[in-house]
């Protein structure tokens, strides 16, 4: 088992076009680090400094992680993590 990370179109340049990749970790931060190890560069597009980028949404099992602890949100085998760029503008 592993954790599935679903990647939006704009980040699939880092995954060779794959819509989903898998990784491990006990928190969202660890999972992103692990995925960045095999897909270098993807982390920088999701995380800025020590926090999630303002206009990138991340969901663990359909819950927006902004309400569950952000990068500290716990994850485990079998979880599905979805990354979606915000649709926003001025």
């Amino acid at each position: 088992m592993a954790i599935e990370l679903r990647v939006p179109t704009i980040l699939r340049t880092y995954t060779g076009g794959a819509k989903a990749v898998s990784g491990d970790g006990t928190t969202l931060a660890e999972l992103i680090d692990d995925v960045d190890g095999s897909h270098p560069g993807i982390k920088e597009r999701i995380v800025d400094g020590g926090d999630l980028r303002r206009f990138v949404n991340v969901y663990v099992n359909d819950e927006d992680v902004r309400f569950t602890g952000g990068l500290k949100t716990g994850v485990r085998d079998g979880d599905v993590v979805v990354v979606l760029p915000a649709v926003a503008g001025g």
Binding site: P8, T9, I10, F55, N57, Y59, D62, D64, R66, V82, L84, P85, A86, V87, A88, G89, G90
Partner: protein, 150 residues
């Protein structure tokens, strides 16, 4: 070029007018790879602002899951400007993250929000990729069946 059927065009304009003076936003989904905007999906502007729009994060997830199940993509992403022209703002350009989409802008300024307004209405479409904006022609057709015949 963006080809859009008249019912979808009218629905986008009606939504922009309804939400004026706040910005309205939404997508028109279509079969993946088809470039045909077929399914009009008005979204809530979670910012409820005359100068900013953002899809609600829960609605955004629901929308993308639904499109995934139907093998669709966001062919059009639209929003309105309510006091300025229908051209992407610096914020629009910085935040555009769907390089495959047609970004449609409608302006409801200068009385265009009024359904009785009989002047021209600005309805323009752009590609926004890596900060580069390219305007494209908008063609309104009676229906997509019509579009396929020519």
């Amino acid at each position: 070029m963006l080809t859009v059927d008249s019912a979808t065009y009218d629905a986008i304009v009606a939504h922009a007018r309804r939400d004026h003076p706040d910005e309205a936003c939404g997508v028109v989904a279509g079969p993946a790879g088809s470039d045909r905007p077929e399914r009009f999906v008005p979204m809530l502007n979670a910012a409820m602002s005359p100068t900013f729009y953002e899809f609600d994060s829960t609605d955004l997830l629901k929308l993308y899951k639904e499109m995934d199940e139907r093998d669709e993509e966001p062919v059009v992403i639209y929003h309105s400007h309510t006091a300025t022209d229908a051209y992407p703002s610096r914020t629009d350009i910085a935040l555009a993250q769907e390089p495959g989409a047609h970004y449609v802008l409608v302006s409801t300024r200068d009385g265009a929000h009024d359904p009785a307004h009989d002047g021209p209405l600005e309805f323009r479409s752009y590609r926004i990729v890596d900060g580069d904006v390219t305007e494209e022609e908008v063609r309104v057709v009676p229906s997509h069946d019509g579009a396929r015949r020519d």
